[in-house]
């Protein structure tokens, strides 16, 4: 599933909801389509333990548990429906996401390089603005929190919390691509999102 883009994911969930038999509200207008949105889109190539999907069910008699069961029945095994509930926060409240970056390689040199990189005062990445000009951002001051762990399975894990959402978005891919440029022996890494939070670091629900 990590090879599926956000747009494709939308289409996929559309079909899954159809298969599940859960009646959904459609937009009105010339070209009605089901109204479903992902609270925070996930970039191509990332895995995730914490995804939020919003939709409106037109049958008030269906309980949350029933919805969860119907969906689980049609979803493939690698997508798990954790819970179905009423939204408490708005998508605009999203401020941070937590992620784990897993490096497939483990040696002291990698650990040192990562420690140096993450603790630097300046980590400058380039980001294209909507107007097309290139902006320089110092990510060092944006990283809310991080931790570096070496696992015995030949992996190094970096847990990191970065700004996400409509106000500000720092893509960990850009941050660690920069690391790869500075440290050419960097092994392959993949990224998994583990949580979405609001400004006060409350779990987004």
């Amino acid at each position: 599933m990590k090879f599926v883009s956000h747009l494709d994911m939308n289409r996929f969930m559309n079909r899954m909801l159809r298969l599940s038999g859960i009646p959904i509200w459609y937009t009105e207008g010339f070209n009605p389509h089901p109204y479903i949105t992902f609270a925070l889109p996930l970039p191509l190539g990332f895995e995730s333990d914490y995804e939020i999907l919003d939709f409106k069910c037109t049958n008030d008699n269906l309980s949350f548990d029933e919805i969860k069961d119907k969906l689980t029945a049609v979803m493939p095994e690698y997508i798990v429906i954790n819970s179905v509930y009423s939204p408490q926060m708005k998508a605009g409240d999203i401020a941070y996401s937590s992620l784990i970056v897993t490096f497939f390689g483990n040696n002291s040199e990698l650990l040192n390089e990562l420690k140096n990189f993450m603790s630097a005062n300046e980590i400058i990445i380039e980001k294209k603005t909507k107007r097309g000009t290139v902006k320089q951002i110092n990510v060092a001051e944006k990283i809310k929190d991080y931790q570096i762990n070496a696992k015995n399975k030949g992996q190094v894990l970096v847990s990191i919390v970065l700004p996400s959402g409509s106000e500000e978005n720092i893509n960990p891919q850009s941050v660690f691509e920069l690391f790869k440029n500075k440290y050419p022996d960097c092994p392959y890494f993949n990224i998994k999102r583990t949580g979405i939070f609001d400004k006060e670091m409350n779990l987004f629900v």
Partner: protein, 614 residues
Amino acid sequence: MYNEKFEELLLSVQKPGRYSGGELNSVIKDKTQVDIRFAFCFPDTYEIGMSHLGMKILYSLFNSKDYIWCERVFAPWIDFEEVMLKENIPLFALESRDPLTEFDIIGFTLQYELCYTNVLNMLKLSNIPYKSADRGDNYPLIVAGGPCACNPEPLADFIDIFFLGEGEEVDLELIDLYRECKAKGIGKKEFLIKASEIEGVYVPSLYSVEYNDDCTVKSVTPQNGAPKTVKKRIIGNLDTAFYPKKFVVPYIEIVHDRTVQEIYRGCIRGCRFCQAGFIYRPVREKSYEIINKQAKCLCESTGYDEISLNSLSTSDYTNLENLLTELLNWTDEKSISLALPSLRIDNFSEELLNKIKHIRKSGLTFACEAGTQRLRDVINKNITEEEILTTCKTAFEGGYTSVKLYFMMGLPTETDEDIVGIAELAQKIVDTYYALPTKPKGKSVDVTVSVANFIPKPFTPFEFEPQITAQEMQRRQKLLLESVHTKKVKINYHDSSTSFLEGVFARGDRRLCKVIEDAYLSGCRFDSWSECFVLDNWIKAFKDNGIETSFYCNRTRSFDEVLPWDHLDYAVSKDFLINQDKLAHNSQTTPNCRLKCSNCGANCYKEGVCFEKR
């Protein structure tokens, strides 16, 4: 083969979803529990191949047998091919990720001539010798089917077996024979001789071709008891024939992503340029109750929100009104839309328009094919200008403001007058719109004219006709553009260099095998993609092999000439085709099968429209 390395490689290319597999309804079996592993190869990208109905039918059919596991393979795009070569990853099937050398049978579907270099490439990427003569018993059997199998001679050196006609029965018969022979330890040579006894199976290696001094075919001689002519297979009863209950649903966006319902095979019209209308005869319809049932089943297993009713001429389906009524009973409330491509311009009624009107309004497309009545009569496209204008008027009154029209250029007996006729007809349609008192306020009309380059194809009355040269095609395209005097008409036309190549292969012979090989070795692949097509490589390949391409496409063939595909029988007799070509040159038309039988020969199957009450 799933690990971080593979993940890393996939994420380094465009659209990694093309190679990841794992889609809903894809079939996973235990390879130790099946007798036959079949790799179904579509020689183009995932997005194109996954839109193909034939593959979906055969994939489901083969997998419905517990002793067969059929998997899918598509041509890797050039960026992933580079990765595969660098990392020594052989071509693999999507379901198991196993390399193709582990399969018993590898099957290609030949949907168009420009995919031939991809066939060679996919074999090479699998580390399988692409020449049949170089493959011993330890390599998989290579088979192919599809419309281009009606003249497969340019691929004769590379494919072991061609299937002629519809594959649902003959493919299984061949697989069963293979399974039997495999169990008995019978080698490939003997197996191929046995296979040639199955009707519809063409084994090219059992035929030797001799040429005359003028390069035309002298004779095609069968050996080892192979039949003198190989006759195509058809499925007699579409209602009882196999149809999938599930489709594999792709994750990434593909060209046509919807439930596809085949409503009938063949076509009654007999337009003289159209190969499909001849090679799929006789017309056999599926009953509307069955179509409705199958469509419902597919929507329920896939979650698709659109159903496409497919056929060569959908408005000719006898029970179209009944079918639409049945479908609209349940599709409306589930917000499933219906698509009706291939509508004919002379039976597009107001009733039909009303039924499809409240479905999401995409544009309307009609095929007029020629700009003047004279030329329409030559090609037997039995529609009049009045019918064209009336239909457009009905569409405009129904609220449509854009219409797309298909035409062809380079048709036999075509003159400049006919080309200008296209522009004049388009203008008349624009005028029809503006003359309407009830036209939508404030909206202008869009008439898109799409002009294809006519390529004479085997098994049509025009198989004897010359194709016009690329330069002449360009001159006529320019003439058409200059004849249009309104911004409301837009002209789209095709690159003529790929048309010339298609023309050579469509009516080619075995001498082209070496040309395809040389072009492939010089780097040609994905020839139907403009970003990949390299004309110069092809020109060099033809030159190096002493082949004059004009011999294949630009000359008129005499009715006595032995054509490279004469030993293949698609039920329509050569005498019939000759007669049709003569009628064409006299601008005489032939009525459709439902009006009057013209004895083309397809009634030999004792099925379908030939035996309908007229």
